[in-house]
Symmetry: C2
């Protein structure tokens, strides 16, 4: 792993997010205040180790960066190779998506009265610094793709669960769906907890 | 990293420990109930990836396995090469030490009235399955060494903080001390959160 100069930024985000959740706030507050924290995190791009920003030719990568001890939240680096895309899928838990590099485009879908899925509203393009919110109560079915056809994009996702272990669904436009569990692309997490070099030795 | 067959055991320990702490119990309950959880974890030796059990010739290794989002606790694999030992040191936070492989010997120290340190009580030898408790209120100064002169020992430690970032002290027998922050030996943590293979796909 190459060392990003400021891994402490991610650690500060984790501890601040945990403090936010400790007050057991309603989802809307998690999305608002957690979204503000995520906006701070992605405002500077000097903390993500290179190993968690590597694209793979076969498909987009989902690198777990941190999982909360009680699986209250998880943080994932999504890395999009040129032109890569997800299927239409849901999340079942709240989510925050913050764009770090490049751009991604999210298209929401809704069920029609006759049980098919159709695109709903305009596609949303995220550029660095932007944060999108996902709430199952508002409808959290979407399809996402790398806006850039010729380069890598990276977004930082926060979910209200250990998202790689959540049973979710992928959908076809005819409204049919299949359940899936995403897992993660990585077998190691970054150690963001070693402060021995930052802390002043007396 | 070679994959231990049951990394899920560590994940279960983490989530159970987090649930224990969620009730904000007094320290004695953390040590009692957390100690019981640790005893379960170390009762079977099939979950620690090899990368976190590797000795180094220079000194004992401290591999962080998990840090809680709010730094309420951390879990560390201590790996002792043949005959390796710590200096006399303290912890400043509660601790649990569970022996996984080999054996280690802990000698407690106390200050005498004239300000020197002296060994206090008999040395405690831990063998696999045993759990030792550390409480700053009871005095948590000790020196630990690998009981085995010719092979590797591994113990699993749980502390009431992100221990690698805690300012602590090492002591000389004349009672003098120096502060230190241990840090960790590893730059990656094991990803124990991917349950996609364990969870039955419907
Ligand atoms: Fe999504
Ligand atoms: Fe110790
Ligand atoms: Mg936690």
């Amino acid at each position: 792993m190459s060392h990003a100069p400021n891994p402490g930024r991610l650690r500060h985000f984790v501890t601040a997010f945990a403090a936010l959740l400790d007050s057991k706030p309603p989802e809307v507050q998690i999305l608002r205040d957690g979204g503000a924290l995520l906006r701070q995190l992605i405002a500077v791009d000097d903390w993500l180790p290179d190993a968690y920003a590597l694209p793979q030719p076969e498909r987009y990568q989902q690198y777990l960066l941190h999982a909360d001890s009680a699986e209250r939240f998880s943080i994932v680096s999504f890395v999009w190779g040129p032109g890569q895309a997800t299927p239409i899928h849901d999340h079942t838990v709240w989510g925050l998506i913050g764009m770090l590099r490049g751009a991604e485009t999210s298209q929401a879908y809704r069920y029609t009265q006759d049980g098919r899925l159709q695109a709903s509203g305009a596609a949303v393009k995220l550029t660095p610094g932007a944060v999108e919110l996902l709430s199952p109560g508002l409808g959290d079915i979407h399809k996402v793709h790398n806006t850039l056809a010729d380069s890598v994009s990276v977004s930082i996702h926060v979910y209200g669960a250990n998202i790689g272990a959540v049973q979710r669904s992928v959908f076809a436009e005819d409204g049919s769906h299949k359940t899936f569990i995403s897992g993660y692309s990585n077998t190691h997490l970054p150690n963001i907890w070693d402060r021995s070099k930052e802390l002043k030795q007396p």
